[in-house]
């Protein structure tokens, strides 16, 4: 059995990824999480002193709190298996990545275990977020200095 023969067999038998189904599920669950977030937004605007501009922070915190409960009771994992990116892309997925790592490494203590491993999955998001913010604002600053665009 040579490499090509095997590759052919492997490709024939491995079930194809159900792209359409997966994308639809991600759309529905992701949309639903955002709709819940939108409801929370209105809650904070109506009952607290938040405007549309400032309401983002308490909303994200609330979503992550819900995500903590779902993660801790093992439910977020089930949602993730169904929804894929639908539950990974919203900020609750970021929370899930941090919180699940924190729970997992609890047995190694709070300093090296929780502290050292909390961002082992989500750390890349912070790295790329901060780096690209730096690069983008630098480019903008250069362009403004050159007089190409305005602030």
């Amino acid at each position: 059995m040579n490499q090509e023969q095997f590759d052919k067999i492997e490709q024939e038998i491995t079930p194809p990824t159900p792209y359409v189904k997966n994308v639809l599920k991600a759309f529905l669950v992701g949309g639903l999480i955002c709709t819940i977030g939108h409801a929370i937004t209105y809650f904070y605007i109506i009952f607290f002193d938040f405007t549309e501009k400032t309401v983002g922070n308490p909303t994200a915190a609330t979503i992550i709190f819900i995500s903590m409960l779902l993660t801790g009771f093992g439910l977020y994992k089930k949602i993730g298996q169904f929804a894929g990116a639908g539950s990974a892309v919203p900020v609750s997925g970021f929370g899930n990545a941090v919180i699940s790592a924190a729970i997992e490494h609890r047995t190694e203590g709070f300093v090296l275990g929780v502290g050292g491993n909390m961002f082992k999955l989500a750390g890349s998001v912070i790295l790329f977020g901060v780096s690209s913010a730096f690069v983008v604002s630098l480019i903008k600053l250069i362009l403004v200095t050159m007089g190409v665009i305005e602030w």
Binding site: I9, E12, T71, G74, E104
Partner: protein, 331 residues
């Protein structure tokens, strides 16, 4: 490399224990003990894994009416870093110990070494086997337990289970190991750690064909050829590989896979079970029972293992795999 055991060492006794989720297994009734808590009432998952090994060995010794001073060698392995659960369990068992790692193929590789030591006359009784614990293995190889990553349909579920055997001198009343094949490492360039079946199938194919060739046997000489944990898709790939090289449908029906059958048709386990404890617990409970009951006369147990680590996978390496086989007969 095919080894023929002249003295035909026997499997004097065997024991299989499993975790709570393994109640869903179709082999559930063959297990000696099922524990409610997957940590075996310990603080950490790794301690739970060690406790599981200890419990399996205790059951094994009880069945054989021996105590741990009678044991010459303890040969075992698991999937956690440096096999620490097995190391800690070995401390309690207090026999001469060699830790083994062939990933999920450890269940068979440990038996092969035990047979060699028995054949050599160095060992009167040797314990051989393997275990895996879902939580500690997931953390070792994949993501935290509660992380919501989507697994594809080709992914397999690591079982919480352990299977151990007591290998001793030939005894016609017990199943005996007449030959074994120590597999080479085979790599067909598979890189997806969520599709282990495809990576391991060529290793199983290589080992089975070598074994049959050297032993001058055909597939039909066996009542069953059971692979370790290729899973549903991996088993299909293996069958197709044999079909392409001229096996008939009747012959293909002889192939079975412990991982593919472990959880039955339950879709939530995706492509089936995996882990060193999967093949160990099925081989050393269900298969041995079938041999003792006389339903099978000759079986080939082929445990497959994928020899990757999270490090090699992240560095973009392919997944090298191996498969070890033992030929077990009942007179």
């Amino acid at each position: 490399m095919v080894i023929i055991f002249q003295s035909k060492p026997s499997i004097i006794a065997s024991a299989a224990v499993a975790g709570p989720l393994e109640r869903k297994s179709v082999f559930y009734s063959y297990f000696d003990s099922v524990v409610e808590d997957e940590r075996w009432h310990q603080t950490t998952n790794e301690q739970g894994n060690a406790k599981m090994i200890e419990e399996a060995c205790q059951i094994l010794l009880k069945k054989a009416n021996l105590n741990n001073l009678d044991i010459d060698f303890f040969l075992a392995g698991d999937l956690v870093n440096q096999m620490t659960p097995t190391n800690f369990a070995a401390k309690e068992i207090a026999a001469s110990f060699i830790g083994l790692f062939s990933a999920c193929a450890t269940s068979v590789s440990s038996v092969i070494i035990a047979c060699l030591l028995t054949e050599l006359g160095a060992s009167k009784y040797a314990i051989a086997g393997a275990s895996s614990q879902h939580n500690s293995t997931e953390r070792q190889f994949r993501y935290p337990i509660y992380y919501g990553a989507q697994k594809p349909a080709t992914a397999q579920w690591t079982v919480t289970a352990a299977g151990f055997t007591l290998i001793g001198k030939h005894n016609p009343k017990n199943p005996s190991i007449v030959a074994a094949t120590v597999g080479k490492v085979v790599d067909y360039g598979q890189t997806n750690p969520f599709h282990m079946g495809a990576a391991m199938a060529p290793a199983a194919y290589d080992t089975i064909t070598k074994h049959l060739e050297k032993r001058k046997q055909t597939i039909k000489d066996y009542d069953v050829i059971m692979t370790g944990d290729l899973g549903k898709i991996g088993l299909e790939i293996l069958k197709r590989m044999f079909a392409e090289t001229g096996a008939t449908q009747e012959e293909l029906n002889i192939f079975r896979d412990a991982g593919a059958e472990f959880y039955g048709e339950d879709k939530s386990f995706l492509a089936g079970a995996s882990g060193a404890g999967c093949s160990a617990s099925v081989y050393f409970s269900y298969i041995l029972q079938q041999l003792k009951d006389g339903r099978y006369k000759r079986v080939l147990l082929v445990a497959t293992g994928s020899l990757l680590s999270p490090l090699t996978f992240q560095q973009g390496e392919t997944i090298p795999c191996t498969a070890h086989a033992i030929e077990v007969t009942m007179e």
